[in-house]
């Protein structure tokens, strides 16, 4: 998830303060991982440096100065490019799980056990998402569905790997 692009996208609706941007981000995208203030301000500094946002005004309050940021034309062009470019699929074969299965086989531990415990963990997560979906609004449902389809893909890989453990053992040891 590109935080910079997300903040730029939020600024397209009108200028905002850093605090408002964080709140808007967390509401829409940060269910599981809300932004830290530090991330917001460092990202805004970078966007400012790159000319993608500009300071639209400054308010002096009881605390520190509050800057209001606005998206620039270059920022809008940047968002266009980002939205028009498909995301690169993750190289799943390099992930931790694959390494664990191979290392289990190499060390004579139970690779089936690794797969089974991962499978149970995936299903626990899928149940939690399914429950959240049942209680949620349409946005929640779409977010959960996306996660569920990805977890399901992982589970299919776990099943297939379980079925191929004998072959894998031969090439791994």
């Amino acid at each position: 998830m590109s935080i910079g692009h997300a903040l730029l996208g939020l600024l397209e609706n009108g200028p905002r303060h850093g605090y408002d941007l964080k709140r808007a981000y967390d509401e829409r995208f940060g269910h599981d991982r809300p932004l830290h203030y530090g991330q917001v301000y460092s990202t805004l500094s970078r966007l400012l440096r790159n000319g993608l946002v500009q300071v639209d005004g400054t308010e002096a309050g009881g605390g520190p100065e509050r800057k209001r940021y606005a998206i620039t034309e270059a920022g809008v062009t940047d968002i266009d490019g980002w939205l028009g470019t498909p995301e690169k699929p993750e190289p799943y074969l390099q992930n931790t799980l694959y390494a664990k299965v191979v290392l289990a086989l190499m060390s004579g531990r139970s690779a089936q056990g690794v797969l089974d415990s991962q499978r149970a963990e995936h299903l626990r997560m899928m149940r939690a998402l399914t429950r959240r979906k049942a209680d949620g609004d349409l946005t929640d449902q779409l977010v959960c569905d996306h996660a569920l389809f990805h977890l399901e893909a992982d589970l299919r890989w776990l099943e297939l790997t379980a079925a191929r453990l004998d072959e894998l053992r031969v090439v791994s040891t």
């Binding site: 149970a120 299903l123 626990r124 149940r127 299919r156």
Partner: protein, 225 residues
């Protein structure tokens, strides 16, 4: 929760093929259990043995402490009609009957008068959100609607256990999800236990726990969360 249905050490062969080798599982009252496994792993055979449709070659299935294979055929048929409900992937509705008549059919077979059976059937169809197509026949509605009618029919007799074998296997994601949500909601409302055979993890995620079947052997991966 009390154990309603218990299978121990089931084995079943079809000619030279061992469909079940050593399968054990239990179902408690009101719980939703997914039976998962790859194609040909024996999960449907396990469901058919649990439901008393198939007799295992070895092992036992007990329902409320009564062993199914020790029952006379008539008693086992009555049990299937009165205490068990079934939903399959295809072809379970009678094409010549309207949806309402289809849902009322098991109630009529149980001796209920026509008007009463159809009144009760309509309540179930409304619950499954297909009350508006009661006068249509299978073939005049979508697959998703047909499956919801099948669920209504399976629940109309208020079974203690609902057996569902890939009930959404022929549906697209959105319709499949709707059928599942309604099926599980209705089962929770009536207190029926559900044994759901599926190879889809997203479908299994609706259940309380899962039993995995591999090469005819069961493996209880996770207890109720």
């Amino acid at each position: 929760m009390t154990e309603l249905l218990v299978a121990k050490g089931l084995a079943k062969a079809f000619g030279p093929t061992n469909a079940l080798v050593d399968a054990s599982m239990s179902v408690r009252a009101g719980e939703l259990v997914a039976v998962m496994g790859p194609s040909g792993s024996g999960k449907s055979t396990l469901l058919h043995c649990l439901a008393g449709i198939l007799k295992p070659d070895a092992g036992s299935v007990t329902y409320r402490d009564a062993e199914l294979s020790a029952m006379p055929d008539s008693e086992r048929s009555a049990l299937r009609r009165n205490d068990f409900g079934f939903v399959f992937q295809f072809g379970q509705l009678v094409p010549e009957l309207t949806f309402l008549e289809n849902v009322a059919l098991p109630l009529r077979l149980g001796g209920m008068r026509r008007a009463e059976a159809e009144r009760s059937a309509k309540v179930w169809m409304d619950l499954l959100e297909v009350g508006d197509i009661a006068s249509k026949r299978p073939g005049e509605a979508s697959g998703g609607q047909g499956q919801r009618v099948a669920v209504a029919r399976a629940l109309a007799t208020e079974p203690k256990v609902l057996f569902a074998d890939e009930p959404t296997g022929a549906l697209d994601s959105l319709n499949g999800e709707r059928v599942l949500r309604l099926l599980f909601d209705a089962a929770r409302q009536t207190g029926a236990a559900v044994v759901l055979v599926t190879h889809e993890p997203r479908v299994a995620a609706y259940a309380d726990r899962e039993v995995v079947v591999r090469d005819g052997r069961t493996q209880d991966v996770e207890l109720v969360a």
